[in-house]
Symmetry: C2
Subunit: 339 residues, 2 copies
């Protein structure tokens, strides 16, 4: 019933367990005949080294973890994740690693990170000062922060504030005064005092600065979608309408929300961009394909994933070098949801 072990192979092949281990790891130490025999027996028995035992010994599991700030199921509702995973995955493919998606077990990032058998982690959406992240420093597991402030750990970020500022400026320059700003709830930020610089609030401050510069009142708090997803944006837009809001433009802190807004507008017969201009943030691949094509702020998502993974693998085997904080540029991408 149980797995085939090295001892069984050794016994059946008439050699020591060491010889079996050598067969797989250092065949040059053995005579070709022995290697062949052991290989044949291993094949016959269906033996493969137990990855846990291997990892225990080498402290290498051959997997890197991606710690998402919410349930896996919710996270992947955000189209941001697919290209990000492609970026991280490209490094995994190169280095023959697996990619482990870990969510905060029982609500705690720290629990997730200590339970999961990964060699290191890419922590998404929570800065170094976040109460859930700071304990990770004492753990010996290397990690890199993505979309969060960091000094002690390597990090990858984009020009959120600047990109958001530009997007808002474009809209304001055309004279809009009733702009609905839609952000999303960071599932981790509930736990922590302001100012907590998650991407939603960074983008929000970019919008605010533009509003100030254009002398447009910021109004109350922005509309906050429950989830950063198409549904989340759709529902939040509907709620805004029910509350009597009739904005002439919507600034969305994520493309996913913008897609939801597009859908909500369509259902209501509101024409985009004539009656309602819509702007997103991220430039996920779907943005070029949406109906109408979405005007948005591009961040190099795949590149971000690649760099994060690269930084992590460097920390994993080089280790020593000083932590690098990388900030990637954003770019305004006008398409068809703006005039």
């Amino acid at each position: 019933m149980s797995r085939v072990t090295i001892a069984e192979v050794a016994r059946k092949a008439g050699v020591s367990p060491t010889a079996v281990s050598f067969t797989f790891n250092r065949p040059s130490e053995l005579s070709p005949a022995t290697v062949r025999r052991v290989l044949a027996v291993a094949e016959e028995l269906g033996y493969a080294p137990n990855p846990h035992a291997k990892a225990l010994h080498s402290s290498r599991a051959g997997a890197i973890g991606m710690l998402v700030p919410e349930d896996i199921s919710d996270a992947f509702a955000n189209p941001f994740y697919a290209p990000f995973v492609r970026g991280v995955g490209s490094i995994c493919d190169e280095l023959d690693l697996s990619l482990m998606v870990v969510s905060p077990h029982e609500g705690s990032l720290e629990k997730g990170i200590t339970k999961a058998p990964a060699d290191g982690f890419i922590v998404l959406g929570a800065g170094e000062k976040h109460p859930d992240v700071s304990p990770l420093y004492r753990r010996r597991v290397p990690f890199v922060i993505v979309d969060g402030d960091a000094e002690k750990a390597p990090s990858v970020n984009v020009e959120d504030e600047k990109g958001a500022h530009e997007a808002a400026s474009r809209l304001l320059a055309r004279g809009h005064t009733d702009i609905l700003v839609m952000t999303f709830l960071n599932p981790r930020s509930q736990l922590v005092e302001a100012p907590f610089h998650d991407i939603a609030s960074r983008r929000q401050s970019g919008y605010m600065r533009a509003f100030e510069e254009h002398g447009v009142a910021w109004g109350e708090a922005p509309a906050e979608a429950k989830q950063c997803s198409i549904e989340g944006g759709d529902e939040r837009m509907k709620a805004a309408w029910s509350d009597g809001h009739r904005p002439t433009a919507v600034l969305c802190a994520a493309d996913a929300l913008a897609f939801g807004v597009l859908l909500a507008a369509e259902k209501r017969g509101v024409r985009v961009p004539e009656d309602l201009e819509v702007v997103g943030f991220d430039d996920v691949p779907e943005a070029a394909l949406s109906r109408p094509a979405l005007s948005t702020v591009r961040q190099p998502i795949r590149e971000k994933g690649r760099i994060a993974a690269r930084l992590l693998t460097e920390a994993l085997d080089g280790g020593g070098s000083s932590p690098r904080s990388i900030v990637l540029p954003t770019e305004w991408v006008p398409r068809r949801t703006t005039l």
Copy 2:
């Protein structure tokens, strides 16, 4: 430098390693005072049990593997994966498991499965008879097959042939005679003789049956995209045009391809659906949002992921029950890319 071990905590707390283990796993065996003391020391030292050692002992890593048939980076170019991961992830969230994405290391599914520290695997896109999959039976690792034939292992599939047949019939019923059929290359099917029932060929046979029924010549081999992605579809469509093809409709074996076709048509000024009708397969979330909205065959992707994960976790801890083969229904979803 290295991780804090149970022994260090034990020494510092003045107890045996057993007591430390009990503190975390069976605190009722210890006096409350001891538990508190050990906990304090553990906290101070930043100790957490080594997941590899734990996994070695319990043969449980707390992770389920998703074995994709190609590089991770290529796989996630297909919008099918996001909702599928959401489905699998919902079970992981429920059961506090991590989700491990594993690609065929060095080209071999078997290698991937034996290297990755996961408790079981969801194998995508390769049937039981596939030469890469059959050796897995001898390994003691439980797995479930998705989108592949299986008798001995549990499996989840959809009515590929039937769904494809319906899609083709709708098109043919309107009198099209020059339909471009676009499928994609299954990265694993290269290795194996026909008939290998991957989803691309299942869908293809559905198309063929409809062609026969309508007395329309099937022509040569269908157009095969290099990758099941938007780019793949785009490029393949361009190539078809360069070759002088001027179809009045395109049947795509995946939505991803259809999106590519839409983009290619737009660039060329071909109107959809007036000049070119386009049909996809999958009904990924983007299909409702594309320009124009995509007519397609729905398969319940998230449900598929949920069921696969459920089947796997059942095999993981119940084990005994007979393997179940589940076939999910498909449904024709007309939108705006067909007349």
